[in-house]
């Protein structure tokens, strides 16, 4: 009953994904920049509540796309932004952030040699900055309930487009997108399944912490926004599996997405094939441009050894979520809380 309209500003145009059918019962929700959903929501809400007046500086710790989304929204709102990042930050992203007017502070390699790694070092530096400035606003994406809440818009869109959804698959990092989207969908469809896709060596679902090559998913510290009780199943992918799946997504469906999308696609395709009567939606958080010199470069993949093993057809169904098996693995989480699952295995190793 309405006509198509225009967007009020650039960040408004990033709010909804494109729903693209990949198979008889599989749809991809392709975002240009998924983190724009919570970034815009949190900053606009802070402004409405009077927490973001003209002199207030927005500060946040991030080395990824949440910072980019904040920087874009800060342009619209004409606010200063300081981001605390680490040496791992992508050089092109750094240039784009500074072009948007953000101040990007990078903690040093030495500062990162503490328990919790760079994530802990960045938090320490963030607290120093907040203590130095008069008025700051930190979105705290890992603990702010407005992060998952922002995804009501996405859930509304899914239901308007599809009506019935039996399973949602997506990569997990802050917990915002999966917990937020699934919780909102379940207001109407309580039986809708949720499959979280994590990286090996991420503590989110019990793996021991370790260095992770795969970006865009997995954590070294547990985010408060993480609600384990929404997940029916968890998958852990390896970099080779995620990268190869990312390329297959491009080759078979012409979808040019990042490696966290590829990892989610791998799990979603497997589940949708095994459950042909279930309508499955897979979250794809960002596009492939940042990975053109890596995931989309065959020489890079070969040199790193990511093409040695072919992509397996099925995950290893793990009996113990705390024990990494070194390849794509899955575990039935069954909507339990973290402590309950961990207590069965003597806690995280």
């Amino acid at each position: 009953m309405s006509i198509r309209g225009s967007f009020s500003e650039a960040t408004d145009a990033y709010q909804l994904p494109r729903l693209i059918r990949l198979g008889p019962n599989l749809y991809a929700a392709c975002f240009t920049l998924m983190k724009m959903v919570p970034a815009r929501f949190i900053l606009r809400r802070a402004a409405e509540q009077g927490m973001l007046d003209a002199g207030t500086v927005i500060v946040e710790t991030t080395s990824g796309t949440f910072g980019l989304a904040l920087a874009m929204q800060a342009v619209h709102m004409d606010r200063r932004l300081i981001l605390v990042s680490d040496p791992v930050i992508d050089e092109r992203l750094y240039r784009r952030l500074t072009d948007l007017g953000a101040v990007v502070e990078r903690v040093s390699v030495e500062q990162g040699r503490v328990a919790g790694g760079y994530q802990a070092a960045r938090l320490t530096r963030l607290e120093q900055i907040m203590a130095e400035l008069d008025a700051t606003f930190c979105p705290w994406q890992y603990s702010n309930p407005d992060n998952p809440r922002a995804y009501s818009t996405v859930a509304e869109y899914f239901l308007e487009c599809l009506g019935q959804i039996d399973c949602i698959v997506g990569p997990v990092g802050s917990g915002g997108s999966m917990c937020g989207t699934v919780r909102h969908i379940r207001a109407l469809l309580p039986e809708c399944r949720a499959i979280g896709v994590d990286s090996h060596s991420s503590i989110l679902f019990g793996h021991p912490d370790g260095p992770r090559e795969l970006r865009g998913m997995g954590m070294s510290l547990m985010p408060a926004n993480m609600d384990h009780r929404i997940f029916d199943q968890v998958h852990w992918t390896t970099p080779p599996a995620a990268y190869q799946a990312t390329r297959q997504l491009h080759q078979r469906h012409a979808l040019f997405m990042g490696p966290s999308s590829g990892a989610a696609y791998l799990a979603a395709r497997w589940w949708a094939d095994a459950n042909p009567d279930a309508l499955t939606v897979v979250m794809m958080p960002d596009e492939g441009y940042r990975y053109q010199d890596t995931v989309y470069d065959d020489d890079w993949l070969r040199q790193r050894g990511h093409l040695k093993e072919a992509l397996p057809d099925d995950p290893i169904l793990a009996a113990d979520p705390t024990r990494p098996v070194g390849s794509w693995m899955a575990y039935d989480w069954n909507r339990r809380c973290y402590a309950e699952v961990m207590s069965a295995y003597g806690g995280p190793r």
């Binding site: 009953m1 809440r149 009501s152 859930a155 509304e156 869109y157 239901l159 009506g163 207001a187």
Partner: protein, 344 residues
């Protein structure tokens, strides 16, 4: 109560100005809501709003007898909202070449009072239409809605009878039009607390949380699809979810048994009156496993009174505008709840 359903009292001659004709207005009733909560109004402001479940088989007919000698409006005792509606409507026509100074309102209605069927909204709407009719000036449905909200603080959207809308019932504005009509469906209406009455004005507005606002947003998207694609199953799920969220504010003890009952008989979901005791079991008439008869019997066994079997998409408004129907005694009044199974 007997005043409302009985014969109109004879006109009081001293208030009538000879030679002036009367105005007539009619409004249907409703059977609670399909969805009620808080929603974004498009300008970033949250507004309380609802989607009405129309009840075309019941309604109110108002006759407005103008007076050029007396200010003020006389109306049936107890119906202060309808009297107030007439006053607001008269104010609206003060610029008319020959406005009525005041007058008298008579209402005939077969809408039960205090159980969430919108008896006062249909009285108010019919009254506003009657005053407009007398002045020969048609009011738009939205104008009637705005005046109705002025007269009674919160109104269902029975006056907007040409489409399905999300209506901000405390502001009198339409937030969204979902479609021209509801999908073909059958609703078994029942009273979950026969004999009890809810005083609408005595209810504090529900204080929805942020989390609930997010849930209502999702339900709005699903309802948009359900109406556009005539998907009764999806519409039923929306109504059930909305009913459950609102249990925190005006709990219906019988809601969960009704939801379960509907599901067992091929039902799509349950809608409720958010300011009353009625609830409706929604059925898709196209479903092969539909079992209305069995369901009607079980409702009685739960101790609830069946009020109406409603088919909103099929009933023609034309038929309902015949006043003869209104003078018949309400079937609800004649209906006696069966003896509870517990007695046997």
């Amino acid at each position: 109560m007997s005043m409302r359903l009985g014969e109109p009292r004879p006109a009081e001659p001293e208030l009538l100005t000879p030679g002036l004709s009367a105005g007539i207005g009619y409004s249907i009733a409703h059977h609670g809501e399909l969805l009620q909560g808080v929603f974004d109004d498009g300008a970033g402001r949250p507004r309380r709003a609802l989607v009405t479940m129309p009840l075309p088989g019941r309604g109110s007919r108002a006759v407005f007898y103008p007076s050029q000698s007396h200010w003020g409006v006389v109306g049936p005792p107890g119906l202060t909202k309808a009297r107030r509606a007439a006053i607001y409507a008269l104010r609206e026509f003060s610029g008319h070449p020959s406005p009525a100074k005041g007058g008298r309102v008579e209402i005939t209605s077969n809408v039960p009072h205090g159980i969430g069927m919108g008896s006062s909204t249909s009285d108010v709407t019919a009254t506003i239409k009657a005053v407009a009719d007398y002045h020969g000036v048609p009011l738009s449905r939205e104008e009637v809605g705005r005046l109705a909200v002025l007269a009674e603080v919160a109104s269902d959207s029975v006056m907007i009878d040409d489409r399905v809308v999300l209506f901000a019932h405390r502001d009198g504005v339409v937030l969204e039009t979902f479609g021209h009509r509801l999908p073909p469906m059958v609703v078994i209406g029942c009273d979950t607390a026969p004999g009890q009455e809810v005083e609408t004005l005595g209810l504090p507005p529900a204080d929805y949380t942020d989390a609930e606002a997010g849930q209502f947003q999702v339900l709005r998207g699903a309802l948009r699809r359900a109406i556009a694609t005539e998907d009764v199953g999806l519409l039923g799920k929306v109504a059930t979810a909305s009913s459950r969220i609102n249990q925190r504010y005006l709990p219906k003890p019988g809601l969960e048994p009704l939801i379960e009952l509907g599901a067992r008989h091929g039902g799509a979901g349950v809608q409720i009156a958010h300011s009353g005791t009625v609830a409706g079991l929604i059925f898709d008439p196209r479903r092969p496993d539909l079992d209305l008869g069995g369901c009607l019997q079980r409702i009685a066994e739960l101790g609830f009174a069946v009020t109406d079997v409603i088919e909103p998409a099929y009933q023609q408004l034309k038929q309902l505008n015949q006043p003869s129907q209104l003078n018949q005694p309400s079937p609800y009044r004649q209906w006696k709840p069966p003896a509870r199974l517990a007695a046997s």
